[in-house]
Symmetry: none
Subunit: 198 residues, 4 copies
């Protein structure tokens, strides 16, 4: 019994880091128009309490963003269906999300890379940026996010206007800017930008 | 009969290397925003295993860059459609890619020329260059790339600081620097540059 | 009386550092094609020994770059004439320099801003950047430069390959990368960039 | 006596390399319009036989280019006068040459740097380039020049047209192209360019 408890503990740490539930039934979620809502269960609420995925609604369900949905589907943590109960696999999800959100695949690959490195990454739409990222081990609420993330594809152009604008967002919210460039081999290279007055 | 069989086999290898498929159906690929993904088949995966085009995704499909897509379309190796199944011919592809990626045509012409000469050419974003090129017969993983390549348009200007920077990048990544100059007739001229202390 | 004398001395040191000469005759310099050479005097050699402007030639004169010349002219430290002895004011100098050197105004504004902040800034052609900047109070020779600086115009575009290259140059020369963005009002904003693996 | 002989031998080797004659009277030379001609003596003809400066005329005098004249004047090897016998020092020479030849100072600094490194460097006007340089220990006539040299100033612009053109000159004369960039501190950085067909 003791062993099982320790094993469970280890699983929990791993799960906290990756959000992967091993040997557990995938959490059900429903895609309705552009919104994804999970079932009402302790397991689904752990998505938020452990990994800070989505937000917990008043009805006890968890609402997830399309990017979080895609990530958790790819990992096998959740299973998404239409309201009609028809299943949606990962590819269909990406296809749908790409129509709804600009630059979805690039943003998804960066989101995934950062999650896999053990960071909590959430939307930063209210700040005028793509994502905000918390330092390892930090949860939203405990402390402020450390970075604003700007995901781009290697062959895209950049003007210094945009670069300045992204930096101003970061600076005004007292965060550093992290440029995340997705290359043609789906690897992400990161550069941290700091406004400075020499 | 025996000779003819061996000859056919040799032709097939040559075709596979260059991306020319004789007597084979073009591989299907879908363009979604600026990502291109092939069908899920052994033939499509050979694009990667034989020619190192793109990357193989978890779902068994191959993701190609726009430049690789244009090249394989021009060769008749793949056939690209929109999500709506509407076909995209080579010219439409170039037109679309040019809107999405600055300097696309110059980069494409150089990519094509190097591929036609039998070299594997991939992104070099991590290093700070457009492309990295492996010596003939060498695949990524077997050995390091031999060159980094900067494709430029003959009419463009450059400062000596930028020229010096390209050399510094090559030197720090232990590769040779190749400048590929595209002229008005779409021909490419190559110059190998080496820092030297006479 | 004693206090006033000390205060005067301090002002002189400060002025010498910034290139402001109060109550001193401007140093004469001659513009010949695109080279500027000062008179042969102790005062002119102080430009180098105190402020590290230019280089001291074998004949005891100081050779200045066009950018340093423009800066010291604007400050009233030097007065430039043609070989014919005809005077050249600051505007004529800028006009002439702009014909000879691409990107002159952008580079000048950044150079001026960094000098005004009390740093020594010199060419970084060998490294592959426009300028190298030494930490406050540090002279070339005493220690290595702290930053390499790339001055850019806000409206100009850049590719991620070029961005990556600048970082590679900084990394390989063990310096920090400073991008100096000049806006339409001639103000400079600085961003320090650091490659990072989150 | 023995010691003096060895000392002299060492001096000769040094002199061969640099073309400096120590403890010998400077060779007289006359500037007439744009041409510089030395006195008629064995010592002056050594300029050619030892160091390949200039050309030996039918009358036994040596005709030097303005750049060679400036270099040998700066070294104290020759002393130049006008036809009127009025002396011309190094500075006056530079001033005069700058009016007569474009880009004189940049070309002079590069010429000087290459000579100081022990190479023979001559004009390459007939090839459409600035200079041709022979490998160390090689004299014109013994073997072909190794490089065509293209001297430029760090802040000047370059188009790939010009770069291509310079390279074509080198390639058609079976030489490599050496780009010599003079920076603001009068140091020269060299890059060797090789036309290549991958």
């Amino acid at each position: 019994m003791f062993d099982m408890q320790i094993k469970k503990k280890k699983l929990s740490k791993k799960q906290e880091k990756e959000g992967v539930k091993i040997n557990k039934t995938p959490i059900k979620a429903v895609l309705s128009k552009n919104t994804v809502t999970t079932e009402n269960s302790d397991q689904s609420r752990e998505l938020y309490t452990q990994g800070r995925y989505g937000v917990i609604l008043n009805n006890g369900k968890v609402q997830l963003s399309l990017i979080e949905t895609a990530y958790l589907t790819e990992k096998g943590t959740i299973e998404v269906v239409f309201e009609s109960k028809r299943k949606i696999d990962f590819e269909k999800l990406i296809k749908k999300a790409t129509k709804l959100e600009p630059n979805f695949w690039t943003r998804y690959c960066v989101f995934k890379d950062i999650r896999n490195r053990g960071y909590i990454i959430k939307t930063a739409l209210k700040f005028g940026a793509d994502f905000r990222v918390y330092d390892r081990g930090v949860k939203p609420g405990e402390d402020h996010a450390k970075w604003i993330v700007y995901p781009v594809q290697e062959a895209s152009a950049l003007t210094w206007y945009e670069f300045s604008a992204k930096n101003r967002v970061a600076h005004s919210t007292k965060k550093k800017l992290l440029i995340a460039v997705l290359d043609a081999e789906n690897d992400v290279t990161y550069w941290e930008i700091k406004w400075t007055r020499p």
